[in-house]
Structures are given as structure tokens and as C-alpha cells.
């Protein structure tokens, strides 16, 4: 088994404030995860805002350096403090997809210009025909075509189309890994599934691994192979997506699952959350604990008795 991505004992601390009222925020604490390059998978990071999921993704992309610990991609340490060439080589292999496509694209720039500059930069293509070929190839993979996109500005496309174009741009250098940070939370419900199905087909048909960051448990269950659940910077449960979400063990995972609005009882107006569950999950944030292996292959955080 060759490792594609390895995150080992990674911590990230942010310091807020100045001399007075200085505060330290542990955005990510002791994160460990490994992605193998043999079998492409969708690896999901679930968490609420402030759980550190985006910080972890930014560190994987090399936009942020871990305070301690190491992230390595295909055997090399990930860092933005490297030579230009090395950084470009890394960027060609790990590509990001951001949350809001309307913000990711400059509204004054045509969408195909982004695709073109990505192709120029990472594939070193110069001739018009080669560039068009690369752009069209990537757009075909996401169900668009160059003819549809050429000359159009972001506002001329729907949110779903634009998010697909963003994914097409990320696919141009044929990366083995995509990091998608909440790629569907800004997309309309009717178009959401087209993006989620697209990520699925990238994995199944093109062999691209995807790190899928979300707070939506239902889509995570639908597409992911493995997942981690993060609470305030700590991974509290990790394992096979179906195993974990069918029967979550950690109190926080249970709370998340219980908070998913189900459509089974449509019209019944069931909206009560058990306050004890919320309290228990909140209390566990402060307790020290470590991840323990469970017989079914998952890892759950267990706490020392107080």
C-alpha cells in the first residue's frame, strides 16, 4: 500500500489578541489520517463551524503550516515555504474546490480564462489547440463543454454550472487528490445532487480521491467511504462512513445525527432536541481523551473518568 496523503499528529494553534487578553485557540488538535493511493476514495470531514475542518483542509493544501506534526503528500512534506517549482508540482497534484463558486471566480473575468491559465501553468501548454483540448477534456468530465463555457462570465452561468466549472478547472492537471470545502452548501437544492453525483463519478470513473468537507451528514453518508467527525478541533470519531453514521458511538456524533432533519415524518413537526445530549456533548469538549480502536474498525474518542 502506498500512501498518498499522511497527516501525523498535526496540531494548529492560533493566537488571538495582543499583550493583554491574549488567547490561544487550538484549531486542530492531534489529527491523524492516511489516504492510500491504491484505491481512490471520498474521505469526508464532518464538523460544525469552528470545528477546525477548514483549517485542516488548508493545511493539507499547504496554505497553512501546522504548529506541530507533519503532513506529507506522496512522501514529501507539505509546505508553502518551498521553491516555486516544487510548490507548482505539489499544486498540480492537490487541487482545491471552494464553497461559493460566485466568490471563487472574479466576476469581471471570463470563466474560460481561469481554465486556460490553469492549463498554461500546470500543463505547460502553449498552442491554442492544445489549450482548447485540455479545457474541453476537463469540462467534458464534469458534463459541460468548452462551447458552453467559452466567453461567459460567472453571472451568466447558474450556481451548479459554475461549481462544475470550478471542479473542471481543478481537474485540468489530472490531480490524484481534490480538496472540496463545502462544495454544495451554496448550491440550490435541485442542483446539489448533480455536484454530489459528480464527485462520486470522479472517484469511480477517473480514480480521483476527494477530501469532502461538509456539515451535511446526509450527503456524507451518500458518497463517502470513510469519514471523521470533528468537534472543536478534535477528531472524536473516525471510520467507515456507513458504520459510523448508521450507529454513531460518540455522544457528539449522536447529537449531530439526531439533529439532521428527517423527512420521514414530514408534516409531523418533530423538532425537539434532547437538551441532555447537547449538554453531554458540550461537556466532553473540555475533557482530555484519546482515540481508541473499536472492534468494528472505527475509532472513537474515549475520556478518562473525572
Amino acid at each position: 500500500m502506498t500512501t498518498l496523503l499522511e497527516v501525523r499528529n498535526v496540531n494548529k494553534r492560533f493566537t488571538m489578541g495582543g499583550l493583554l487578553g491574549r488567547r490561544v485557540i487550538n484549531a486542530v488538535q492531534d489529527a491523524n489520517l492516511t489516504l492510500s493511493s491504491d484505491k481512490p476514495e471520498i474521505f469526508t470531514i464532518i464538523g460544525e463551524s469552528g470545528s477546525g475542518k477548514t483549517t485542516l483542509a488548508r493545511m493539507i493544501l499547504g496554505l497553512e503550516l501546522p504548529t506541530s506534526g507533519e503532513i506529507s503528500f506522496a512522501g514529501k512534506t507539505v509546505s508553502h515555504r518551498v521553491g516555486r517549482q516544487e510548490r507548482l508540482d505539489f499544486m498540480a497534484k492537490v487541487q482545491p474546490v471552494f464553497q461559493n463558486p460566485f466568490e471563487a471566480f472574479n466576476p469581471l473575468k471570463r470563466v474560460d480564462r481561469y481554465l486556460e491559465s490553469t492549463a498554461r501553468r500546470f500543463l505547460r501548454l502553449k498552442s491554442r489547440d492544445d489549450l482548447d483540448g485540455a479545457m474541453d477534456g476537463a469540462l467534458q468530465k464534469v458534463g459541460l463543454s468548452l462551447a458552453e463555457v467559452r466567453g461567459r462570465y460567472p453571472h451568466e452561468m447558474s450556481g451548479g454550472q459554475l461549481q462544475r466549472a470550478a471542479i473542471a478547472r481543478a481537474l485540468i492537471p489530472n490531480p490524484p487528490l481534490l480538496v472540496a470545502d463545502e462544495p454544495v452548501s451554496m448550491v440550490d437544492a435541485s442542483l446539489r445532487m448533480s455536484i454530489v453525483n459528480l464527485l462520486k463519478s470522479l472517484r469511480d470513473d477517473l480514480g480521483v480521491s476527494v477530501i469532502y468537507i461538509t456539515h451535511d451528514l446526509a450527503t456524507a453518508y451518500y458518497i463517502s467511504n470513510r469519514l471523521i467527525i470533528m468537534q472543536r478541533g478534535r477528531i472524536v470519531e473516525m471510520g467507515d462512513a456507513r458504520t459510523v453514521l448508521d450507529n454513531p458511538e460518540h455522544p457528539y456524533s449522536r447529537l449531530l445525527k439526531a439533529s439532521v432533519l428527517s423527512t420521514e415524518d414530514a408534516g409531523a413537526g418533530k423538532l425537539a432536541t434532547d437538551p441532555e445530549m447537547v449538554e453531554l456533548a458540550n461537556e466532553l469538549v473540555k475533557r482530555p481523551g484519546r482515540l481508541v480502536d473499536r472492534p468494528d474498525g472505527r475509532m472513537v474518542m474515549s475520556y478518562d473518568r473525572a
Binding site: G159, R192, S194, A218, P248, A258, L261, T263, A266
Partner: protein, 346 residues
Amino acid sequence: MSQTTKQDILRVNDLKAYYQMNYFGVNREVRAVDGITMTVRKGEVYGIAGESSSGKTSFIKVLAAAIRPPLRVVSGTVEFDFKSGKIDVAHASPSEVERVRWRDLSYIMQGSMSVLNPVRKIGKTFRDFAFRPLGLSNEAFEARVIEHLRRLKLPPEVLNAFPHELSGGMRQRVTIGLATVCHPEFVIADEPTTALDVVVQKEVLGLIREIQQDMNSSVVFVTHDMSVHANMADRVGIIYAGRLVEEGPTREMFFAPKHPYTAHLVASLPRIGDTTQRPALEGRPPNLADPPQGCRFHPRCPLAVDKCRKDVPPLEQVGPDHRTACWRWQDVKPLVSPHVAHGVMA
């Protein structure tokens, strides 16, 4: 759940509201609301679903009497029947609207972050909003606000806090508090929970529902998230391209939809415990400046026939309380059965 009295509090009759713009001498007309007729009953929660640029926000702007140019009401009426009297907010004068605003007709806005004034304490904001409509003495007003905050599970200390000192969920509860402190008969909520985390979202929705039942007010709320509608609404109306395409009791909308668009919206919801392939609806919502002929959904509709391309289907009664605008509603099959196991709830 729907222990509604049959009395209507809101009657919208053939409402048309267009954006009329004149750029460089070219007139453009965007038909954001194009002939909507609906009613909301006393004590009812009515959910409006639709994707972005379907005209749902324009529609509730008209309901909330927040019409600003270039949006203009072209025809139709929006009649509220408050205890304090009837009012047609589409044609009322600003002073008449002022009379019912917050006291009878209130509005929970989208994005709690940007709604609250960042340099004003919450207590002052409450004063700005509610002091005049309530018309109470200083002490009575203070007591009323604190009592109301308690109901929203907020400590009275928040009155001395600035918005940035509160968490997202608390801020959203404060905006709900602002909108409901006058005990309005009618509340409009625009995507009240879209930016919130799952745990907080459920809590806030539960709170809106609780307050609504306490005050027996009517709520119209808008979101594109069908799972929110499933848990909040007594009735759901679906807006597509400026028109109401289907309306019915929540349960029927989910398990026996009569419009292909509704059937799709429901079927595309992923669920925990179910990994079967979910269909995605191809195509994009129509441009409202140049909508398609006939039924506006026909370019994306799997059931479309020639008639759909030519003639506009009327919104017809297909059951008690259930109306749909589709020529082929008898052929619409629910794409998911309600019996799919929902995993083991812990």
C-alpha cells in the same frame, strides 16, 4: 399539528410584481412574481420552497410590504385580515404600512450577522424596533423584553451585549426575538436558518415553532431546504419561475406530490441509511426576463408533452387543500417511497 381554524389571515389574489428596468434606453421587464394566488390561515405555518432566482424572495418582499423600485406591483392584491383591521399592503400608503409593521406584520430576516447593528447594544436595538409599536412605559417595556428573551432561552444580560459577543445561534434567536416581541399576528421568515450549523438549526426551528404556537400567529417562511419544510410547515407551496406550481399539506407534498418538480425536489434529498443513486435535475432555472412558453418547467420536465410547450397549465384543485399546475399531474409518481428505513436512531 394542523389544528388550524379555517379563517384566512392572508389572501393573495393574482399577484404580479415585476422588476422594470431601463438600461441604456432598453426596457427590460423581469417577471419575478407572475400571477400568484394563495391564502394563509390563522395559526398556520406555510412554507415556500423554490430555488434561487425563482422569485420567492420577491414574493415575500411584497408580502412584507418591502417593495422598492425597480420592483413594482403590476396587479393583484395582498390582503391581510388583522384584528386591527384589513389592509392591502400592495397598495397601502407608507403610513398605513407603518401602523401594522412589527405590531401585526413582522419579518425575520436572512443572515443574523448582518441584520443587527454591530455598534449598538442589543437592548438599544430592541428599543429602536419595538418601543414605539408597543407603546408601553419604560419599565413595562423592559419587563416585556426580558420576559420575551427568557422564552427564547436567552439571559437578560444579552441586552447589554454587542452582536459580535454572541454566537451565531444566539444572534439568530435575538433576531427572532426582535421580530416577535410585539406578538405579531403574522411573521415572515426568509431563510431563517440557512447559515446555521445542524444542531443550532434544529434548536432555532424548534423555537420558531414554539413561539408561533404560543402566540397562535401565522408564519410564512421561505427556504430552499426541503428537509426544513418537512419539519416546520403545515402546508408547503412550491414556486418555480415566478409561479406557484404546487401547494398542499406537507405530508402529501412529500409522499404524494402532484407536480414533477416537487417530486424531483423530494427525491433528490439524500438520507442517512440509504445510498441508492439520487437523480439530479438537469438544466437550469429559466431566465425570468425571457421565460419559456407554456409551462415554465417543460424544458427540464421528464413528462413534458407538446401541450406543455404551448399552453400554460392552470393551478387546479386536485384534492382537499391540494392544488397543482401540471397538465400531467395524474402521471406524476413519487420517486421515493416513504418506507425507506432511516437507519438506527441512537
